[in-house]
């Protein structure tokens, strides 16, 4: 099909660049600068989809963001994206799109049977119909609805596009580049203010692109072009097209989505698909314009019925005629402007004006052009199924209640104008108390809550001259406040045609004996009759009517339907519109890609990755890594075909028999300095700290104020007023904040400084009976004997020229040391350890072996210190001082914490000595008890004991102290396991702790 509806040499498209595209599999041509909508209309294609509920044929209603119907599935560069508005999608070579909401095709749609069964689908039908019978829901209703309804289909493939986030600050953020946006931006820019001007469309200028006005002796469009090119040259101005400000948040932060690549066949290398801007503005100027509202009449959803402003835009911007036999239906002068454009381009329109005898310059012009105008006339119903073929029209009485005799006139489109609705969404989102403006029958912004001002049509001002004057003045005034410059800008003179008052008329009555559907909300298929039902059934609040009927709840958020819905409710209720009130506008103003919101934080980038200085060595030596918070830690070092179980068992066994080395860099480390450091530790930890000598380490437990264990670790006194605290990997950040909280707010009199040194030190734990031999080789000149460096001792040494800290502490329960060097030397230290350890059969071990070793020993870790346990539960009550006070001590007196049969840590061994117990299993008395089976405790950690070669677990068990020797069942419904077990001591290996002291 050729472009039969394209005018020659009209519009702003680039006719030198012809583009081919496909819609529903069929090939068409358009031009660069087209939208998918304008290109389809140029080819005479009006049928683009089916409606959501009744599957009625739907065409184009608007020409931009307000479009309720023309939502397509887009295919671009081997990817697909749902819910794209054809009116916003710019055409590119090779574009492919398909209709949604139709099954099996847009021309033959099974769901359209709903249209003929519509008696079953009135307001609230989801609530009523599908409630009964209940069993039908899964089998019949849901599959049917899923297949027949729904908008597009999301791709299940990984999105290869990149999305960026950007943070920006400015003096003035201006939303919209129409006459008011341009004027205020220009005035503010001239005062040196930092300005961001955002336009959602590809072209700047807003209404100036289509209106027949003159500014400063040039056309509005040329004036806009001049201003934009000057703004672009100014260093203090950022001008962005294809950029939608969609959310107005607290403290003047606005979010904008910039479509960087959607208009191209393929995203350019190194370019993002979209860029999300978080903009903090000192002042916001909302110049978002207004959206034409429809007049409601029978079958007003038929393809070919559209907003008169859209018809004008298709003509003036794209050179496209939406029809060759247009009928204009208006209650104000805007319809005349569209009619005049048609007439000028060789198409004879007919105007139906609901007003009796309006007079204005525009009407005079239409008359002088010889346009056929019928006053006090309305469209009663559109006729035609997949496209408007004719219209039933009639005269209407002055009170708008009585229709005259119905006549039928041929037409191929109906362009409708019911006057203008200011786009107050952003103002409303900002917290502005909007008010109803009687003269325009619409809401406008009222009292501001934040630093925002709404100008021009968005503020209900439709005179160009007034808009320019207020916008220049406002831009100058606001920027002057910020920059203190006051440069006068001369305001150009304006030539525009004066319009007359619109008619307060928005809905055509039904003729006797007819029950045409008259739609209010086109995307959600909400008709006048649905609102009537809702009100008849007792819904009064507009918020309830909205939810019951789904009015304004579609993806267009009722941009074209809200006010007519309000008019209807107020009419039935016999209230004025402001008393009915409007529903709340919430961000986003228009749907935004999830990808843009997520930004770069996907996959590996969803969180930072922290690696120890020894990471490269681990990688080279076949480490299998595991995520430990944001750290990557070796889980085990794979040898040959070993699996995790075999590898970790080998490593743990080697620690128990020879010596192993583990990267413990990830442990949190906090440097504590000051004369009151000991006092701080004494208050933070449950045990006593005032008498710890220099050169000694101590294990400590800290609580939250509610008595729950927060963290554990060792702290070492490096010198008189200097301590080195370690925390668990997971709690490192929380413990630092915790210390800072008490030092800054609760006990500011303590003279102590704390700072995180986690990343400053690389750590290696050398553990096993032969660890002393390895240490001696590392530090030949040091006395590392049991006397020279006893358990919990600390010395400093020289590791082949590198200063090292040596702690004799043990997590594995074996004789063990922890060596720390500055991070840059971590890899060097590690290699030296491996080198000197070779003769002692040293092996690196990962977190899995580390767990095995600590579980066997009954040492608690994160799985026991889980935010639900107190010291007693972890058999740590010996560390709780009775003499001194500390954080959380008072809570330990709570009755539940002092009960005799309080939960406590125990060991668990399967009776068969073979079956591993899944972590998280519940311990129960009777495996066959009726559900819910009373839970006595839960398994917190499991391992394969390398000491005894059988499974062993730790558990937190009710009355654990008196349960040793009991036989219970470990049940894991998740793993479908019931395992008979025996409760034993949590200290499974070396209960007296002799090894660490050897």
């Amino acid at each position: 099909m050729s472009q039969d509806f394209r005018l020659e040499s009209v519009g702003l498209i680039n006719r030198d660049k012809k583009l081919s595209f496909k819609f529903n599999g069929k090939k068409y041509f358009g031009y660069e600068g087209d939208t998918l909508a304008s290109a389809l209309l140029a080819n005479g294609v009006h049928l683009v989809g089916r409606s959501f509920k009744y599957h009625r044929p739907r065409g184009f209603f608007g020409a931009g963001v307000d479009e309720p119907y023309a939502i397509v599935q887009l295919y671009r560069n081997n990817e697909t994206e749902p819910n794209i508005k054809a009116t916003e999608q710019e055409l590119f070579e090779g574009l492919e799109a398909k209709s949604v909401n139709c099954w099996p095709s847009v021309d033959f749609d099974i769901g359209a049977i709903n249209n003929f069964l519509k008696i079953f689908l009135p307001a609230g039908f989801y609530y009523k119909t599908f409630m009964w019978p209940k069993s039908f829901w899964y089998r019949i209703y849901e599959p049917f609805i899923r297949k027949a309804a729904g908008l597009g289909v999301a791709s299940t493939k990984h999105d290869k596009e990149r999305y960026e986030h950007k943070y920006e600050y400015c003096d003035l953020l201006i939303a919209g580049s129409g006459p008011s946006g341009l004027s205020s931006a220009y005035a503010a820019a001239k005062n040196g203010a930092k300005v961001i001007l955002a336009e959602d469309k590809p072209r700047f200028g807003g209404s100036l692109l289509t209106s027949d006005v003159n500014i400063g002796n040039q056309s509005g469009k040329d004036w806009a072009e001049g201003i934009i090119s000057e703004l672009k040259t100014m260093p203090n101005v950022v001008v962005k097209n294809r950029s939608q400000i969609f959310g107005y948040y607290d403290h003047n932060m606005l979010v904008m989505s910039e479509k960087v690549s959607d208009h191209l066949p393929k995203t350019k290398k190194y370019h993002p698909n979209k860029r999300l801007w978080y903009i903090r503005a000192k002042e916001v100027l909302i110049s978002s314009g207004s959206i034409e509202r429809p007049i409601v009449f029978g079958n007003n959803d038929t393809p070919g019925v559209m907003l008169s402003s859209a018809a004008k835009e298709y003509l003036k911007v794209y050179g496209v005629l939406v029809g060759k036999n247009p009928l204009i239906f208006t209650n104000n002068d805007s319809g005349y402007e569209t009619a005049i454009e048609f007439q000028k381009h060789g198409v004879q329109p007919v105007i139906l004006d609901s007003r009796k005898n309006p007079e204005s310059e525009i009407i005079d012009e239409a008359k002088s052009l010889g346009i056929n105008i019928k006053y006090s006339y309305v469209v009663v119903a559109a006729q035609g199924y997949k496209k408007v073929k004719s219209a039933d029209i009639a005269s209407i009485s002055d009170d708008k209640k009585q229709l005259g005799k119905i006549e039928n006139i041929k037409c191929d489109c109906i362009c409708v104008s019911g006057f203008w609705t200011p786009s107050i969404h952003l103002a409303s989102q900002s917290g502005n108390k909007t008010k109803f403006k009687e003269e325009i029958d619409a809401f406008v912004p009222g009292t501001s809550k934040q630093q925002e001002t709404t100008l021009g049509a968005a503020n209900g001002v439709f005179s160009l001259e007034e808009t320019l004057h207020t916008s220049f003045a406002k831009g100058r005034e606001l920027s002057k406040k910020i920059t203190e410059n006051d440069n006068e800008v001369s305001i150009p003179n304006v030539v525009e045609k004066k319009s007359s008052q619109h008619d307060k008329f928005w809905c055509v009555p039904l003729p006797a004996g007819k029950n045409y559907k008259r739609f209010l909300d086109f995307q959600n298929d909400v008709a006048v009759s649905d609102i009537e039902i809702a009100i008849r059934e007792g819904y009064r609040s507009i918020e309830h009517v909205k939810r019951y009927t789904t009015l304004g709840m579609a993806t267009d958020q009722g941009k074209t339907s809200n006010l007519n819905g309000l008019q209807l409710v107020s009419e039935i209720e016999n209230k004025v519109v402001p008393a009915v009130g409007h529903t709340t506008f919430r961000p986003p103003y228009t749907p935004i890609s999830i990808g843009a919101i997520v930004g770069r934080e996907v996959g590996k980038h969803s969180k930072p990755t922290r690696k120890s200085p020894m990471h490269a060595w681990h990688e080279k030596n076949n480490a299998v890594f595991v995520d430990a918070g944001v750290w990557l830690r070796p889980r085990y070092y794979k040898r040959g075909n070993e699996n995790l179980f075999e590898g970790s068992k080998r490593e743990a066994k080697n620690v128990r028999t020879n010596v192993g080395v583990c990267d413990v860099t990830t442990l949190g480390k906090i440097d504590i300095k000051g004369p009151d450091a000991a006092e701080l530790l004494n208050r933070v930890y449950t045990n006593a700290w005032l008498k710890l000598p220099v050169g000694k380490a101590r294990y400590g437990v800290m609580l939250r104020e509610d008595g729950i264990v927060m963290d554990d670790g060792t702290t070492t006194r490096i010198s008189e007023n200097h301590y080195h605290m370690t925390t668990t990997t997971a709690q490192a950040a929380n413990v630092l904040s915790h210390l800072e909280y008490y030092l800054q707010l609760v006990w500011p009199e303590l003279n102590v400084n704390v700072v995180s040194t986690t990343e400053q030190w690389a750590g290696a734990a050398i553990a096993g009976p032969k660890s002393r031999d390895v240490l001696q080789k590392l530090f030949p000149n040091l006395d590392v004997s049991n006397e020279g460096l006893p358990f919990m001792g600390y010395i400093e040494g020289d590791l082949f020229g590198v200063k090292a800290r040596i702690f004799r502490i043990s997590f594995s329960g074996e004789l063990a040391y922890e060596v720390n060097v500055e991070s840059d030397y971590g890899n060097f230290m590690w290699q030296k350890i491996m080198e000197v350890g070779e003769e002692f059969e040293i092996q690196p071990y990962g977190t899995e072996a580390l767990s095995t070793l600590r579980i066997e020993m009954g040492h608690v870790a994160g799985s026991e210190l889980d935010g639900r346990t107190i010291p007693y539960d972890n058999a740590l009550e010996g560390l709780v001082s009775k003499k001194k006070d500390f954080i959380g001590k008072r809570s330990l007196q709570r009755p539940a914490f002092t009960e005799d049969n309080r939960q406590r840590i125990v060991g668990v061994v399967p009776l068969d000595k073979k079956t591993s117990i899944p972590e998280g299993s519940h311990l129960v008395k009777d495996a066959k008890a009726t559900l819910p089976n009373p839970k006595l405790g839960h398994v917190s950690a499991s391992c394969w004991s390398v000491e005894y070669d059988n499974p062993f677990s730790l558990a937190i068990l009710k009355d654990g102290k008196n349960m040793i020797g009991e036989k219970l069942f470990a049940m894991s419904p998740l793993k479908n396991k019931v395992i008979p077990v025996e409760i034993v001591s949590s200290h499974y290996v070396d209960p007296k702790g002799e090894r660490v002291r050897s």
Binding site: H251, S737, E740, Y741, L745, D885, S891
Partner: protein, 89 residues
């Protein structure tokens, strides 16, 4: 996203801060005999105020200082911010 004036660093976005609860709560002194009720009030009992609220925030991604912020819990308006040791006027 709130815009909070750190008394040490100036206007900074909310993502740099972490919330720390009611700033008017005072921890009982150490080693002092207190009733269960007093302790419960300190540890657990908080008012869920609508309106002006003095709260603690820590500038974790900045100077790491704990600060006091006087904020309206309903409108998010921030009236004033204070250093940890500053008297709240």
């Amino acid at each position: 996203m709130l815009y909070i004036k750190c008394p040490h660093c100036g206007m900074r976005p909310q993502i740099e801060f972490s919330y720390g609860g009611d700033a008017s709560v005072k921890r009982p002194e150490l080693n002092k005999e207190i009733s269960d009720q007093e302790w419960d009030n300190f540890v657990y009992n908080r008012k869920s105020l609508r309106g002006k609220h003095l709260e603690l925030w820590q500038h974790i991604s900045g100077c790491r200082q704990w600060i006091k912020v006087e904020r309206d819990t309903a409108t998010h308006e921030i009236f004033k911010t204070f250093k940890a040791d500053e008297e709240v006027a």
